[in-house]
Symmetry: C2
Subunit: 343 residues, 2 copies
């Protein structure tokens, strides 16, 4: 972070907005009017449906600024919304961002946050077209609403899974949660003995998965290339169990996941062991992996069988079967949804 | 508020969302998929542009729950966004709402808030199609993103005003700010002498303007009926001065407002007098009136001359003239933007 410190009060609301807005330009031809009016104007492409998703990140609940760099936070605020639209099998084209912050943040700190957002916008070809900034008496709050367009026949909901469909994920699971545990542990160590520098060498992968999640928008092209359409899809933000249950509920079906088919990175195993935690719990209930969970009709098995980016973890069953994990031991355990229950 | 108290923790995230979502149904034929997937799906009407606006309300900054009923707050959170889209000369058709709250709120309290939102949705024909709920370690946060559709030729920006255009407002100004002062005064009295019940009889109008602003969406139809198109428009959320300056900046022009043409309600005058405050300051810098400020080409003067809902307050001038108010005394005072500067 820069050592310069400009107070937000020195710029005022409109000065701050102008300074932040000057870094963003419009790329999409569908973006007709960006920041600076009562509303943004976007031209929907002909015969496309509009997809809208929104997420709010709260300091102290979703992030801890003692170990999350502001630039990463800005990137992640975008990533989680891009991931939601990817889960509909579509791309984000525009976002609006609302931000509330207190005077403990300098203008330079807020610029760091927007740098991260801009990096995500540039990486994923997105225009920031509007937003709102305000004061917060408490922590930092970031609210992002993402919009995308897709032709109706391309859109994938949570509700189309059928018994017999293959249950698949786009990448490995459990790392983001264990990365968070490592960051929390290092924070505790630092608070007790501030001269000890954290050594994260062994944990780069899991910490990276926590701090810089990449939405799997590449899968939208992959499905196209493979000539397949998922029958249902959701992104994995709350943990695998919760997402499998969402698909089961919306598609009125059951599901079986096989423990020995779960894609888990070697570093995730090693970290779980070092922390003396259950890696399967991290996968099922950890969350924040932002991989895609989707179902594929069995007839398309050969199209995905050898694909290195798709892992078949189980299959869809009849509704009365419920949702369970078949463990290596042969035992079945029921899946339970977590969501947040911080209250 | 109901005397029943259900803890949010008893329902959990998904239970709470389900309970809130069950009160809302989809009315618009453009709303294809509402709450319950990774994103909402909306079908843009052919040849229409999409308008997007977002606003975030923070407890302790934008509202004080010691005198703002939750139902009114929910209504207002919608109203401010509807007002933004009205300022583009369009209707809101869908909204997404993010909410963060702590466990000091019961499920019944959150339902009160959503009752207010639902009332606004029903009144203005809007579908709530998605959102996000999360925990807050601090105050209540409400973020609303509104979307609307309009044909390109109907959309009014801030940037089209020309020298000679008439500067107009849709209703009276200054009341909402003075209503807030009354509520703040009563709060102080109550804190010092809790047995004294507040008597707001004389202040119903100004307090109502503060607590239950009505977006001037009726003006969209009015312009149509009168056969006029504003050359520029903005809603009055930060005070008249700030909004006139926005139009001047975006349209590259100056403006003159006449003090004796400012529409001020009798109760607003009376309240200002009782509080020993300047009514002109309330109008220029008070904000939250949510009236529309717009410019009309001089050729259309006769079409609006006798309209009881349109008040001509001044005119657009050349850019080098700046923006000023001509006082009754004949003196000119420069307009200054306020925005928020709570830092």
């Amino acid at each position: 972070m820069s050592i310069e410190r400009t107070e937000i009060a020195d710029l005022g609301e409109f000065g701050l907005i102008e300074r932040l807005a000057s870094k963003f330009s419009l790329q999409h031809k569908s973006s007709r009017l960006g920041i600076g009016d009562d509303a943004a104007i976007v031209s929907p492409p002909a015969s496309h449906e509009l997809l809208v998703s929104t997420d709010m990140l709260m300091e102290g609940v979703h992030f801890d600024l003692s170990y999350v760099p502001l630039r990463h936070l800005g990137y992640k605020a975008m990533a989680v919304n891009i991931s939601d639209i990817a889960a509909m099998n579509a791309h984000v084209s525009q976002v609006v961002v609302s931000l509330a912050m207190s005077n403990r943040f300098s203008v330079e700190a807020i610029e760091e946050l927007y740098e991260g957002m801009k990096l995500a916008c540039d990486t994923y070809g997105i225009d920031l077209v509007g937003g709102d900034t305000s004061n917060s008496r408490q922590g930092l709050v970031i609210s992002v609403t993402a919009i995308g367009f897709a032709t109706p026949e391309k859109i994938v909901r949570r509700s189309g899974a059928q018994p017999g469909d293959l249950l698949c994920v786009s990448g490995d699971l459990g790392a983001a949660y264990l990365g968070l545990q490592i960051l929390e542990r290092e924070k505790q160590v630092f608070m007790q003995t501030p001269d000890v520098q954290p050594d994260l060498t062994d944990f780069e992968y899991v910490v990276g998965r926590q701090l810089k999640p990449e939405p799997r928008i590449d899968m939208v092209e992959r499905f196209e290339k493979l000539g397949i359409m998922p029958s249902a899809m959701i992104d994995i933000s709350d943990g695998l169990a919760s997402e499998v249950l969402h698909i089961c509920k919306k598609s009125n079906c059951g599901a079986v996941v096989f423990e020995d088919h779960l894609p888990i990175h070697k570093d995730t195993y090693d970290t779980a062991e070092k922390l003396n935690m259950s890696v399967i719990t991290a996968v099922l209930n950890g969350g924040e992996d932002y991989e895609l969970l989707f179902t594929i009709p069995q007839k398309d098995y050969q199209k995905i069988e050898l694909d290195p980016f798709i892992q078949i973890i189980g299959h869809i069953d009849k509704p009365d079967k419920g949702a369970s994990v078949r463990m290596r031991s042969g035992q079945f355990i029921d899946m339970k949804a977590q969501g947040w229950n911080h209250f």
